[in-house]
């Protein structure tokens, strides 16, 4: 326990000695490293959790169908995903509140409720797809999903209800670091290094040219890399962790490192898909791809891919469920923090528990309409993403709210370019899903 000098913000002069827990270091270098390690978390988690079960499926399908020709698109998404989440970092640190609360307060009840209902709905449907992936992977591993799915759901609830943000964060960061196994999986498939470098840095078109299938897979890649729940999750996470203005640069670094890791891991998933293609396998789903890869590597890699698939779904589930619980708590004015025990924030934990339990339960119902749910996710994400990003951009230009942390002109040029591109892509994807007859050439 150390004492700490705190300047009272009102006067800027009055000093007060308050007892706070801290660590003493002697060098500036050690101070920076330790501060980063303390701030580190929300950025990594939001980015790695974005590589959820749907992302594993999309990236491995891209690799299985088009080899490494689409790697440059993934690399192009690195600045896109970073710039969007960096805005969330500024907003979260400056206000100390979640994204849903900000929309509600600054745009009124109508837009607040619209955003909340849309978020809760798309999040729930996405959670169902996460548990569907867990079910699929467990099946391929020879584990009965009727046992495995409830166990995973129970684990997901247990990591969140400890009443300690730090405990939850440490467990989830550990799960995020397990994602490095994708590097070993990609390396084991003996990737053509020079072709990968070329495919990543030089934009190119796969053989067959620009087909509707390629367009929609590209949109799916973009859609899976930039998801609406990420905005809500990271801002609420930053607010819950109580990051300070002084932590801004470290939170940005955390987000940037997370973006680099998630994009590199996405590339590894594509390389794994490419390996199965080179061995003559046709892609059906990532679990089957794991089985196929196991035939020319070893059973270890088969299980590794299946476990990574479950890990991706678990990370996606905890982050998405929390974004729902935080957003609901913010709008309803309930206590909403992982730092609080269940008895002090019952509503917050009930939303989290209900999200996880309902999604897991739905997957276990025989002949559940999973295809309809996937379709719903795509349409609702098409509605949700542009609106969430518009609100984010407007809030980041709100000088009354953010003062010096508001967007600079160059931020706006970059962001509006991204927003217009995302609007167009979301519209094309949602239109294709909702009205497939408008695109007769697409299969």
């Amino acid at each position: 326990m150390n004492s700490k000098l705190v300047m009272a913000p009102a006067s800027g002069l009055q000093a007060e000695v308050l007892p706070v827990r801290g660590r003493v270091v002697k060098s500036k270098w050690a101070r920076n490293l330790l501060t980063f390690l303390m701030v580190f978390g929300p950025g990594l988690i939001v980015m790695v959790a974005d590589n959820d079960a749907g992302a594993v499926s999309t990236y491995s399908q891209a690799g299985a169908q088009y080899g490494i020709h689409l790697l440059w698109i993934v690399l192009l998404l690195l600045p896109v995903t970073y710039f969007i989440q960096e805005m969330v970092v500024r907003l979260g640190i400056a206000t100390g509140k979640g994204h849903a609360a900000m929309i509600y307060q600054r745009f009124g009840k109508w837009w607040g409720r619209f955003s909340l209902i849309d978020l809760e709905l798309v999040n729930f449907l996405t959670l169902v797809t996460e548990f569907a992936a867990i079910d699929l992977a467990l099946n391929k591993m020879g584990v009965d999903p009727r046992m495995g799915v409830p166990l995973v759901a129970a684990g997901l609830v247990l990591i969140a209800v400890t009443g300690s943000y730090r405990r939850w964060e440490r467990i989830v960061v550990f799960l995020c670091l397990l994602d490095f196994a994708w590097f070993a999986i990609a390396f084991r498939s003996h990737p053509p290094v020079w072709q990968i470098v070329r495919g990543s840095l030089i934009p190119g078109m796969p053989a067959g040219g620009l087909t509707p299938d390629l367009v929609f897979l590209t949109i799916a890649i973009v859609g899976t890399t930039v998801a609406p729940w990420q905005l809500f999750f990271q801002q609420s996470c930053i607010a819950d962790k109580r990051l300070r203005f002084a932590d801004m640069k470290w939170a940005r670094l955390d987000t940037f490192l997370g973006a680099c890791i998630t994009i590199t891991v996405a590339g590894c998933m594509m390389i794994a898909g490419n390996a199965s293609r080179l061995h003559g396998f046709t892609f059906t789903d990532p679990a089957q791809m794991a089985v196929d890869i196991g035939t020319f590597t070893s059973g270890f890699f088969r299980h590794a891919i299946l476990l990574m698939m479950i890990n991706a779904a678990v990370l996606g589930t905890t982050a998405i469920s929390l974004s729902s619980a935080w957003a609901y708590g913010e709008i309803r004015g309930w206590p909403h923090s992982l730092q609080l025990p269940i008895r002090q924030a019952p509503g917050f934990y009930v939303v989290y528990l209900a999200s996880v339990a309902a999604a897991a339960g739905l997957v276990l119902i025989p002949r559940a309409p999973l295809q309809l749910i996937i379709l719903g996710v795509q349409v609702l994400a098409g509605v949700m993403l542009p609106s969430a990003i518009i609100f984010l951009q407007l809030l980041l230009n709100d000088k009354e709210l953010l003062g010096g942390y508001a967007n600079k002109p160059w931020n706006n040029w970059v962001n509006w370019t991204i927003i217009i591109a995302l609007f167009a892509l979301s519209l094309i994807l949602a239109a294709q899903v909702a009205a497939p007859n408008l695109f007769p050439a697409a299969s």
Partner: protein
């Protein structure tokens, strides 16, 4: 815009530094959003929200079209 003295910078005591985890630190003064009220409806904000409404209306029309299509109203489904 609320400002706060850089907590980490002010932690320098003699020749060592005290690093405090955000959750162990004294809560920092943030922007007072409660008293700000709704956002001012400038032309840019109005245009953005109008575009968003138009986009949402278009999406609803697409979903409505899909429902009618599924119901076989356009006559080209098996």
């Amino acid at each position: 815009m609320a400002t706060m003295t850089n907590a980490i910078e002010s932690d320098r005591i003699a020749d060592h530094f005290v690093v405090v985890h955000p959750l162990d630190d004294v809560p920092e003064a943030k922007v007072d959003t409660e008293n700000l009220g709704p956002m001012r409806m400038t032309l840019a904000v109005r245009l953005s929200l109008l575009s968003l409404r138009a986009y949402l209306a278009l999406m609803m029309l697409l979903v409505f079209y899909h429902v009618l299509d599924l119901a076989g109203l356009f006559g080209h489904r098996a």
